[in-house]
Symmetry: none
């Protein structure tokens, strides 16, 4: 079964909101093993909605349409689908009563415009709305399945999970699609792709895809099978091979984050964690604090933005600073000073220059030091892009180098 | 001119990321007065991309396609457009040299797969990529304009703003739509809407819209006219009235940020700036560091996440901490301690509890203290939502309270 997703709403075309409904529906379909090859967004215009509905029905077996079911004049999805299919809209007396009671219970009179929500496409069933007044519609037409659901995500979500997906799964006896995402840092995307090119080209499952974001390269392995367990069995040998080829560059799987991995390592070993930050200005610490339970390991951070603070608070000597605020010596002294002041066992220090103008150092020069009970080492990296991007990459790099040091995988 | 937006990437269909590119492009087109009636997303499949390109060109005059331009085997947009239009892909020797130099400068050899990025559609022009290796492509074919840009938002964005929109505006001679966004903090959206309700209801330009995001309420005034200057003239009297009614709640206009406003105030007065953070974990400092030239005023920050660090480093007495780590007394002592240690004239301190579980304090309780040469005051606020959201709101609130204190607009 091929399912198309249509989102109705001029606010989507104007970019006033991002289309999170399409993403959520796509994720639910994939998890249920249902194919979806196209998502479309269209404005609150009856003819254009109707044209899109006709095109989508010609391509797919099932249509999920979100939005345009409200009571106002610009809610036109019911009318557009009626026109596209040549199916009448008929008032539903039971539902009119239900609506009136809904408003009465809230001690208010129902605005007349709300009566439009009691109209349904002939032959369709209402999908109950637990969180609002606009019901969904469920219709089979010429052998095709069509679902109309509200655009408000909180109202759409239960209809998707409790009505649409169970029905489609039952009707198709669909197989499950299961993915494992291996997350890596430190190798360029092209290098990852080259090391895995023969696995990528294999014709047997799982399929492989690469995704680059924020300095991370993700390798997604996907298999379709009768059950999640059977799909994971197809994935396992390829995952083992990918892990072997990418080695320590792989830091986590699926929703695991680098900050979560670091706090897990620190908590297991009983290490107190701190940071000493100049160019990143506290964002490394902020990423660590984002993990629930961070206080079990993280004690604090010194943001030493000026040279005076590096000297007065962290105890970096004027001699070392004189040779270069952005240097491996300064980074090492920052890490040592922060460990002493914070009483931390593990510290990552960052100093660098994010621009906008070059200042002795090229923009994007970043120096890191990692201190653990086992060793203390520095490393310099250069990042492309503007100030914001350099700082984002540097924050990620600080976390990843910290993890490598903590795991004894020194550079 | 009718512009269609196509997003390529299986990760969109699988719902692994939301389609923010389509929203950003839609917003930019609307602001430039260009019509857009359809957005589509399709997976990394050459035939399906090609089919969508053909359909979209039959409907519109211009096509903006994002994604699928990277170096890996699943990047197929160039090939699909080539097939859809019957236009050859040809290697570009100049661009190959450019790519080789890009990699050489970074001290690494170019993986062979990157050469694919040096292929362009015959008759097309490369759109330079300031932030990565994948160039965009700009092509006119049978009188239709076609732009291919990368899917990574940071790489797409400058191509859209600096290349595509200026060219489309010039080619269509479209009327300018100009907006001024007045940014406020501290009044609830309903209060802002009530104070401005008569201005909102006016039938003359400018139109007014409210946008709530991250605790800020933005009032957008928009007018369409032959020139930007003419539009701004329509906006000016209404802007003056809005400013008068919302008073000190308005902190900036358009792209002005609260962190930029704070650093401007500090720099003008010669004040050294610092932060003392517990629950926000360094994110207040990180926001300030994001401003180019932050070092002119910002000296540093102490992230005192544990009680020990609050005592040992910031000098908050055990007695005060014993009465409550999340209290106005603790926040005031953190501010005073950080001012002394950092040698700062102005400090904002934050302590609070972001959850996930209640811990003596309700989740979302946040206490702030602001210290300036004129006064030192504390304030408690409660924020709804989960850990991430509470921390984001608290970071914003810390900055806004800091600005109010610095401006002498004490609560």
């Amino acid at each position: 079964m091929i399912v198309e997703v249509i989102s109705v709403g001029t606010e989507l075309l104007l970019g006033q909101i991002a289309n999170t409904n399409a993403a959520e529906i796509g994720a639910a379909l994939a998890e249920a093993g249902l194919d979806s090859f196209r998502q479309s967004a269209v404005g609150d215009n009856q003819d254009r909605i109707a044209a899109l509905v006709r095109e989508a029905l010609a391509r797919g077996d099932c249509l999920i349409i979100t939005g345009g079911l409200g009571p106002t004049q610009d809610d036109l999805t019911r009318e557009a689908v009626s026109a596209a299919l040549g199916v009448r809209l008929i008032p539903d007396a039971d539902f009119e009563d239900h609506l009136r009671q809904w408003w009465e219970k809230r001690g208010r009179e129902m605005p007349a415009s709300n009566l439009r929500q009691a109209e349904r496409l002939e032959g369709s069933t209402f999908i109950p709305n637990r969180r609002g007044t606009a019901p969904g519609l469920d219709l089979t037409h010429d052998g095709k399945r069509i679902f109309l659901v509200p655009g408000v995500p909180e109202e759409m979500r239960p209809m998707l999970a409790e009505w649409i997906i169970p029905r489609l799964s039952a009707e198709t006896g669909s197989q499950t699609i299961t993915s494992r995402v291996l997350r890596s840092w430190g190798l360029p995307e092209s290098e990852v792709a080259e090391r895995l090119s023969d696995l990528y080209a294999r014709s047997q499952p799982p399929t492989m895809a690469f995704l680059a974001s924020g300095g991370e390269i993700k390798v997604r392995l996907t298999a379709r099978a009768a059950s999640t367990a059977a799909a994971l069995e197809l994935i396992a040998p390829v995952e083992a091979e990918v892990r072997q080829r990418l080695g320590a560059a792989i830091f986590g799987v699926d929703a695991e984050t680098i900050e979560g991995v670091i706090l897990g390592l620190a908590t297991r070993r009983g290490w107190k964690l701190g940071t000493a930050e100049s160019a990143t200005g506290g964002s490394v610490a902020a990423r660590l604090v984002s993990v629930p339970g961070a206080s079990a390991a993280l004690v604090g951070s010194i943001v030493a933005y000026s040279a005076d603070i590096k000297h007065n608070v962290l105890g970096v000597s004027r001699q070392v600073l004189g040779k270069g605020e952005v240097s491996q010596e300064t980074a090492l002294a920052m890490a040592t000073g922060a460990a002493r002041l914070l009483g931390a066992d593990v510290v990552v220090a960052v100093t660098g220059w994010a621009g906008p103008e070059p200042r002795g150092q090229a923009v994007g020069t970043m120096v890191f030091a990692v201190l653990t009970p086992e060793d203390t080492r520095a490393r310099s990296l250069a990042f492309p892009g503007d100030r914001e991007r350099v700082r984002a990459y540097a924050t990620g790099a600080a976390l990843h180098l910290l993890r490598l040091g903590m795991a004894g995988e020194w550079w």
